[in-house]
């Protein structure tokens, strides 16, 4: 009797479970998939669709194929601005890669020193600007660097270096560098945190073993720690890349949408904003704006593909 029930239970339970569609997977995927589709995939595809249209003055839209992209790349009035924005964006990115991630790495190394006191205080302080609103960051730095009442010129004068000060945010030669460094100051906490976490993951045994083998601090860093955090550095780089090529807010807050002087701080984000929304007397063009947005998407995709196939595949994750 007991045998019978047991076997019958087993048979009714097991057989349908194999043939049934794994509903639980669909159920678990559904919320994320729905939200992603609605708020990310659909707008993205619609933007690409919109970039293939052109609007006339009544607002009616007609399909024009790749004409918007042709204008963007071939018409000197558009391509000049586009290439200028792209070049500036690459410089913006390069400065972040070298300065932001370099300093981030350095700070993470300092924070992971075993005998550091007040580490968590430094960590919080350095991370703090990241959480501030960009508008506040822009406002504070404009005040600091203000040639009329800023603290920077008075500080420099106090130490006898007043002659070094210039209206850095207003000169074509220095504006982009200055804005980039402000952005670096704001976001340096992110690479620091990521790298710090990776450094903490390295087992002490490895470092001790290296030290016993006669490696100095520099060799320990160069031959043991750095290779072990390379995957994290890769992630940091790609995050920086995506963030920089989507950047807009800080430059808009400091230099406005015309990104002066003479478009020297114009990056793809501000260029897109002017094209899509218009500016002062320039009437915005949603279709042309969508073309710029699609171009940005392609540039970011290319960057990510280079990273995925060129860099990430060669990186080895070490598990301990």
């Amino acid at each position: 009797m007991t045998d019978l029930t047991a076997s019958s239970v087993q048979s009714t339970d097991v057989v349908p479970a194999r043939s049934r569609f794994p509903i639980h997977i669909a159920v678990f995927l559904a919320p994320a998939l729905a939200i992603y589709t609605l708020f990310s995939i659909y707008p993205l595809i619609d933007t690409i669709r919109l970039s293939l249209y052109a609007g006339d003055e009544t607002g009616a839209r007609s399909f024009v194929g790749l004409q918007n992209f042709e204008t963007l790349l071939m018409d000197p009035n558009w391509s000049g601005q586009f290439w200028n924005a792209l070049t500036n964006n690459l410089i913006f990115f390069a400065i972040h890669m070298v300065v932001q991630n370099g300093i981030g790495l350095g700070l993470a190394m300092l924070l992971s020193l075993p005998r550091l006191t007040g580490g968590s205080v430094y960590r919080t302080l350095i991370f703090l600007p990241t959480m501030l609103s960009v508008v506040i960051i822009g406002f504070i730095w404009q005040l600091i660097l203000n040639p009329l009442w800023g603290i920077a010129p008075s500080l420099l004068k106090a130490v006898g270096l007043g002659g070094l000060f210039g209206p850095w945010l207003g000169q074509e030669s220095t504006a982009l560098l200055t804005v980039s460094l402000i952005s670096v100051w704001q976001f340096v906490g992110i690479p620091m945190m990521l790298i710090y976490a990776a450094l903490l993951n390295i087992p002490d045994d490895l470092l001790d073993a290296a030290t016993v083998d006669g490696a100095g601090p520099f060799s320990v860093f160069w031959f043991v720690r750095l290779p072990l955090i390379l995957p994290t550095l890769g992630v940091v780089s790609i995050l920086t890349f995506v963030a920089n090529f989507n950047a807009f807010d800080l430059i808009y807050a400091i230099k406005g949408a015309l990104a002066g002087p003479n478009f020297s701080t114009d990056i793809l984000g501000t260029f897109f904003y002017r094209t899509f929304f218009g500016f002062q007397l320039q009437v915005g063009s949603p279709t042309m704006g969508a073309a710029v947005a699609t171009a940005m998407l392609i540039i970011i995709l290319i960057g990510i593909l280079i990273y995925l196939f060129g860099v990430q595949r060669r990186l080895q994750r070490h598990t301990f």
């Binding site: 003055e57 009544t58 607002g59 018409d75 000197p76 009035n77 558009w78 404009q142 660097l145 203000n146 040639p147 009329l148 009442w149 010129p153 000060f165 210039g166 209206p167 850095w168 945010l169 207003g170 000169q171 074509e172 230099k255 406005g256 949408a257 015309l258 002066g260 002087p261 003479n262 478009f263 904003y273 929304f277 218009g278 500016f279 002062q280 007397l281 320039q282 009437v283 915005g284």
Partner: protein, 429 residues
């Protein structure tokens, strides 16, 4: 049985209550609709107080059953925000109109309605209406509200201290600047180029009208009879370039609020102004200030001023309260509104033909120039900023560069002309 009965009763009562509340809500809604509410979209967030405390109450005295709400965005975000709301169908009933193409574009896209039949439109001259009419001048789509006038505001105490008189010609202007610079205590010209528009608007358009003879030059540009490489325009850029040594330390990174503060703190003598600065200076400056018109090139020349049609109000084509909106626009065209607007916001001058007394002495001085000088509007606004590259953006860019010394006046003129000639037929020859 008893319990059953009471249960049914309770259910009935519940239904009744629900119906009643739905009806009440519907009634309240209908009520709200009959006491119509108009929402105004605007970029004048600085003026919200005046609208809420003066203008709307004055309107409600005459039309108590129309409620009006004033909703403003920051000026730089207005165009983008408004376009997004119009596209989404959530924009207000009344839309504050930028002059010329930005509003013409809205009209052509069917977002604004024609107001030719709104009472009060006859109170405005063709020039006043030109900024909000179709190119053929037949249809007007926004009720003109105000214009702004350019000139120079100066610190009277500094002028008295240094025994200076307001200059009438460019030569006198430079003599005054030299004296202030020689004294060394004050910055001669409060102006910065970081925002770029200051250089173009307070600089190029402000003094330029005297060089290109106001409307004469502006129309010649549109017809293609004059080019930006012609003498008047190059001379304007040359004059701007000569201001650099008189401007404050680091003027290249000086923004508009810095400029205003530099002047209101009494550290600068002359401020190339728009009349909209007057109410702000009234509040912030604790010294006496006055204004002089843009100096003419040679003594005895006829003077011109940039009397720029700047702000108007139109009706959202999708508004549910069309009649109420038209009533509001009619009131906007009345002398009563002109009186309130001119005196609560000195520096914005009504465009209607009605005579309005401006009480603020400095603002009155600005508007007084209309009697002695010829009025003109900014030359980049009508038709010429329709193409790519956008003429207004180009003017901002090159004016700032000329003042920064990174571009020669002739180069600036050539760049602007080349840009215009690349798309505008009359300039292609």
């Amino acid at each position: 049985m008893k319990t059953l009965h009471s249960k049914a009763f309770r259910r009935r009562a519940g239904q009744l209550l629900a119906t009643a509340s739905v009806v009440a809500a519907a009634l309240a809604f209908a009520n709200a609709a009959s006491a119509q509410t108009l929402t105004i979209e605007s970029w004048r967030n600085d003026d919200a107080e005046v609208w809420n405390n003066k203008i709307i109450p004055a309107f409600n005295k005459k039309h108590p059953n129309i409620k009006v709400q004033f909703k403003a965005d920051p000026p730089t975000e207005y165009n983008a925000a408004l376009n997004a709301r119009l596209a989404g169908g959530t924009a207000g009933d009344l839309i504050t109109c930028r002059p010329f193409d930005a509003s013409l574009d809205l009209f052509k896209k069917g977002n604004l309605v024609s107001i030719n039949d709104v009472k009060g439109i006859e109170n405005f001259s063709d020039v006043a209406k030109s900024a909000w009419s179709t190119d053929d001048g037949k249809t007007t789509f926004c009720m003109p509200m105000a214009s702004v006038i350019h000139g120079f505001v100066y610190n009277k105490e500094i002028f008295d201290e240094l025994k200076l008189t307001p200059p009438k010609t460019m030569a006198e202007f430079h003599a005054v600047l030299d004296k202030i610079k020689a004294d060394g205590k004050y910055t001669p010209i409060a102006m910065g180029t970081a925002d770029q528009w200051e250089a173009a608007t307070m600089g190029f358009q402000n003094i330029g009208v005297n060089y290109w003879k106001g409307e004469e030059g502006r129309k010649a540009l549109i017809e293609g009879k004059q080019k930006f490489t012609d003498k008047p325009y190059v001379d304007t850029f040359k004059e701007l370039a000569s201001w650099a040594p008189y401007m404050g330390d680091g003027y290249k990174a000086q923004k508009y609020p810095d400029t205003q503060n530099l002047f209101t703190l009494g550290r600068a003598a002359i401020y190339p102004a728009g009349s909209w600065d007057v109410p702000i200076f009234r509040k912030q400056a604790d010294f006496e200030f006055d204004a002089f018109a843009p100096p003419v090139v040679n003594a005895g020349d006829k003077c011109y001023i940039s009397d720029h049609t700047d702000i108007a109000l139109g009706i959202n084509a999708k508004s549910q309260n069309m009649e109420a909106a038209k009533t509001f626009l009619s009131w906007l065209a009345s002398p009563e509104f002109a009186e309130i607007y001119a005196n609560e916001l000195p520096g914005f001058f009504p465009l209607s033909k009605a005579k309005v007394e401006v009480k603020d002495p400095v603002a009155a001085k600005f508007v007084g120039w209309r009697g002695d000088c010829e009025s003109s509007i900014r030359n980049s606004y009508q038709i010429l900023s329709r193409g790519t590259p956008n003429l207004e953006n180009e003017l901002w860019n090159v004016s700032a560069q000329v003042m920064n010394g990174t571009m020669k006046p002739e180069e600036a003129a050539k760049k602007v002309e080349d840009g215009l000639a690349s798309w505008y037929e009359p300039h292609k020859k």
